[in-house]
Structure formats: structure tokens, C-alpha cells
């Protein structure tokens, strides 16, 4: 059981190594922070003892520089979001109280990012169960790690990777009691137990995302953000396992638009890459089977009639 959980959480960050590493203008500046925040241990000069000391870094404060430089905000200086006073060590105590930006502080009303519909996402998020129950504490950063978040569904054509990436976001709390309890004093309910009713759980969780079942579908958005209470979650199999599978409006949204126009028949997109009982109906097979079945019956009926007549 535990291993299946771990399987979903396999990291997706497997980028081709030979890909030429782009140069980041602020890499040099950021290096002064990564020197400490990129490692398990760091060194600093202890003035009162007058010697260099080595210490362990708080694991939650370690940032993977590789992931950082693949993220949306790779071009940033650390101090674009954090106070420049962090340049000194030990960091001043009151920095702990520094105010964090919200996504909308930078992206709100910006034409460049209009296609992401930040305002609408914000609205949906405000209405979500996470936000309504934990208002101020639950921010966008909880799901979008400030140092690693990278858009996936929009530009990654490997659906498997997208699924793992997106599910890991949810599992970062729902499979990790430490992060979960940042927000709640309760134990986090076991995901495996909560979805016992779903057969082939491992297969399902590697083929669909949590948000397929747990958010209210919004036709205009690529990623719906309104996570609803568990009572509203999709439980009926046929919502996916049918010709009008909800997956065409969520997971396969991009694919579906592109391919359906080209091939012009239903479920063209799902057809080639996935096999979802009930949703995969090969148009040609359907026609062929009806024709073959009809012909068989016809021959049988004619034969039977002739037998009766000639009796």
C-alpha cells in the first residue's frame, strides 16, 4: 500500500541532460543564497569564536537549484521576492515576519498573462474548500511551490508526466502529514482508504488527476481551481467511462480540441493514447461490427425461411 503511494510520487523532473543549460542573468547573484540554501550543510564565519563553522541546513529551507532554474520564475533574483536584507547572515530576526507577495500582486491585471485568467483562478480558489476552511493560511503558494512551480498541463505533451506533476501537488499535503498539519490539527485522512471504492486504484491514479474528480469543471479554464467538498466529488464511473467522458473537458482538453478538428469523429483524441472502457468507441469498428452482425443475421434469416419453404 505504502509503495503504491510512493509510486505516484515519483519525481517527474527528468529532463534531457544534454539539453543546453540556458544562462540565467541572476544565477551569479542567486549563488550567494544557494551556497547555503542549495546544500544540506552550510558554512559561515562565526565572529565571536573567530573561526569558520559548518552546520546543517533546515531541510525545509533547502531549494533544489536545478528545479529552480526550470521553474516559471527562473529568471528571478531571490531578492525579487525576498527582502535584500537576507544578503547578510545571520538573517535579521524580524525578516521572519516579512510580507509575502501573492501571485495577483504581480500577475493581476497584466495583459501578458491574460490567457492564464489569474483573476478567475483567484475567484475559484476563494470559493474552494481549502480557502473557505483555512482562508488566510491557505495561499496559492501552498500548491505552487515558489521555487519550483512550472506550468505543465499547458505545454507538456506527455500526459503521464502532467498527471504525476499535478497529483504530486495534492499529495504534497494529502500524503504528508507534516505539511497537512500546517493547516489542520487533524490527521490527514488516508488517500488509499478514501478511494477504496475505486477499482484498479494504481492504474486510475496514474491515468487521471485528483482535480478531475475534485474540482468543479469550468469549460473556459484549462485548470479548474475550485476544489469542492468530498461529497461533491465524482464517484459515478460513467462520468468518465462513457462517450461524453468528462475527461475530454479536463485532462484531454488540449488534445481533444486539436485532434477532433483534424479527424472529425468523436473521441478521436482519447482513441489513440488511452483506453477507457466506455469512452473509447472506434467509429470504424462500430460501423464494421454493425454491418457484420447485420449480414450474419440476414443470411441466417434467409436460410431459415428457405428451409421452412422447402420442407
Amino acid at each position: 500500500m505504502v509503495t503504491t503511494l510512493l509510486l505516484w510520487m515519483l519525481p517527474v523532473a527528468t529532463f534531457a541532460e544534454d539539453e543546453e543549460a540556458p544562462v540565467f542573468e541572476n544565477a551569479e547573484y542567486n549563488h550567494q543564497c544557494f551556497k547555503c540554501h542549495g546544500q544540506k550543510t552550510y558554512r559561515y564565519y562565526n565572529e565571536s569564536m573567530d573561526r569558520e563553522m559548518k552546520d546543517r541546513m533546515n531541510p525545509y529551507f533547502i531549494i533544489d537549484s536545478a528545479l529552480y532554474y526550470q521553474s516559471n520564475h527562473a529568471s528571478f533574483m531571490c531578492t525579487d521576492c525576498h527582502s535584500p536584507e537576507y544578503e547578510t547572515f545571520p538573517h535579521a530576526g524580524e525578516l521572519r515576519m516579512e510580507q509575502q507577495f501573492a501571485c495577483l500582486d504581480c500577475h493581476g491585471g497584466d495583459e501578458t498573462y491574460a490567457h492564464y485568467q489569474f483573476e478567475r483562478i483567484e475567484e475559484e480558489f476563494q470559493a474552494s474548500i481549502h480557502s473557505t476552511k483555512h482562508n488566510e493560511d491557505f495561499t496559492c503558494w501552498m500548491c505552487h511551490n515558489p521555487h519550483t512551480y512550472k506550468i505543465n498541463a499547458r505545454n507538456n505533451h506527455n500526459i503521464k508526466e502532467v498527471i504525476v506533476y499535478d497529483n504530486n501537488i495534492c499529495l504534497s499535503c494529502h500524503a504528508d502529514i507534516n505539511k497537512y498539519q500546517l493547516l489542520s490539527d487533524e490527521e490527514n485522512p488516508s488517500i488509499l482508504a478514501a478511494h477504496e471504492w475505486l477499482p484498479n486504484q494504481t492504474l486510475h491514479f496514474s491515468k487521471v488527476r485528483c482535480i478531475e474528480c475534485h474540482t468543479e469543471i469550468d469549460k473556459e479554464m484549462l485548470i479548474a481551481h475550485k476544489v469542492c467538498s468530498k461529497e461533491k466529488a465524482v464517484k459515478r464511473c460513467v462520468e468518465c467511462h462513457s462517450q461524453n467522458s468528462l475527461l475530454t473537458a479536463t485532462l484531454y482538453k488540449f488534445e481533444t480540441f486539436e485532434k477532433r478538428n483534424k479527424l472529425g469523429f468523436f473521441n478521436a483524441a482519447i482513441l489513440t493514447d488511452h483506453y477507457i472502457i466506455g469512452a473509447n468507441r472506434n467509429y470504424y469498428l462500430n460501423v464494421a461490427s454493425i454491418v457484420i452482425f447485420g449480414l450474419t443475421l440476414l443470411v441466417i434469416i434467409i436460410h431459415a425461411i428457405l428451409r421452412i419453404i422447402s420442407k
Binding site: 493514447d273 472506434n282 431459415a304
Partner: protein
Amino acid sequence: MESKLYLYPVWLRIWHIINAVLFLVLIATGLSLQYASVDYSFIDFEIAVSTHNIAGVAITIAYFMFVFGNLFTKNGKFYKIKRKGFFSDLFTQIKYYSYGIFVHQKTPFPVTAKRKFNPLQKVSYVGAMYFLFPIMILSGLALIFPEFIVPNVFGFSGIHLTGLVHIISGFGLSIFLCIHLYFCTIGKTPTSNFKSMIDGYH
């Protein structure tokens, strides 16, 4: 008429009735799954999935009963196809079914203790039981244990390919069943073959 032939041993009749019932269940649940819809449901999806799985495993076990029965009893010899005269015999039988039968000719391959099936029956039984059936069983088992499926075949989803193979072989067997049922009505009387399958005597 002449002395009766005992052609259908007990194990065969037991297999056959189990097989027939399970097969009908599989067709009903299989169709229901393939044409599942949000607005109506022939059989509830969850129930259809589990019933289809259980019936599938059961018919597999029954299938082994059929294979072992034919390996270790005399019944197996009825399924041996002789190469000599294969096509001409087949043609003779087809001619009979498409013409001779209507003008009351004698059947060219009457049932004897040595020959239970006419050539056409033989190929269709062999085709159904030793070709389509194993394909259907293997692809079906693969769908129950998808972790063993090769994920990608020439850029095409392996599980999707398996699904197609399963549906096509299932469809093929369903067509076989229609023809099979009809041809079973061609006996001494339309019902005599069905009686044979119950009491064992031809």
C-alpha cells in the same frame, strides 16, 4: 431410428452449460460496459465491471476443463483437422448447406461414432475454441492486470491495443454464437441437437 450414439460425455455437457451461461453474462455486461452512458445504464457500471471480471475468470477456468477434457479423453479426436481433402470436404459441406439441404439431399457427412462434426462444424469449433477463445482470455486477463501490458507499441498505447484485441475477439465469438445457435437447429428436428446436449445421445 437406429441405435443411439452417446457422443456428449457428462464433463462436456457440464462444461458446455457453464460456458454458455457465462458467455451470455459476458456478452451482456461487456456490451453494457462498451456502451456505458451517463444518461442511461443497462447494467450499473460498477456491477458490470465486477460481474464481467468474475465471469471472465470463471469462463477461463471452464476453458481449461474443455482443453484438458479434450486432451485426455477420446472427445479430442473430433477436433483433429486432416489436411487431406480439407478444402474439398469443406466445399462439399458448404454446397450442401447452400443448396442440397433445400432439395432434401442426404447430408454428405452424417454423424457417426467416428465423426461427430461435419467439416464446417469442425473448423468453426476449432477456430472458436483454439483461436478466438485463447485470444479473448489472454487479452481479458491482461486488462485485469494492466501492469503487465507493454505500455507502448510503436507509439500506440499498449493497453488500448489490448482493449481492441479483446473487443474484436469477443465480437468474433459472439458472431460464432449466432451461427452456432442457428446451425444447432439443423438436426433431425430443430430441437434434437439441443436435446443431445442435455442427455448426451445423438
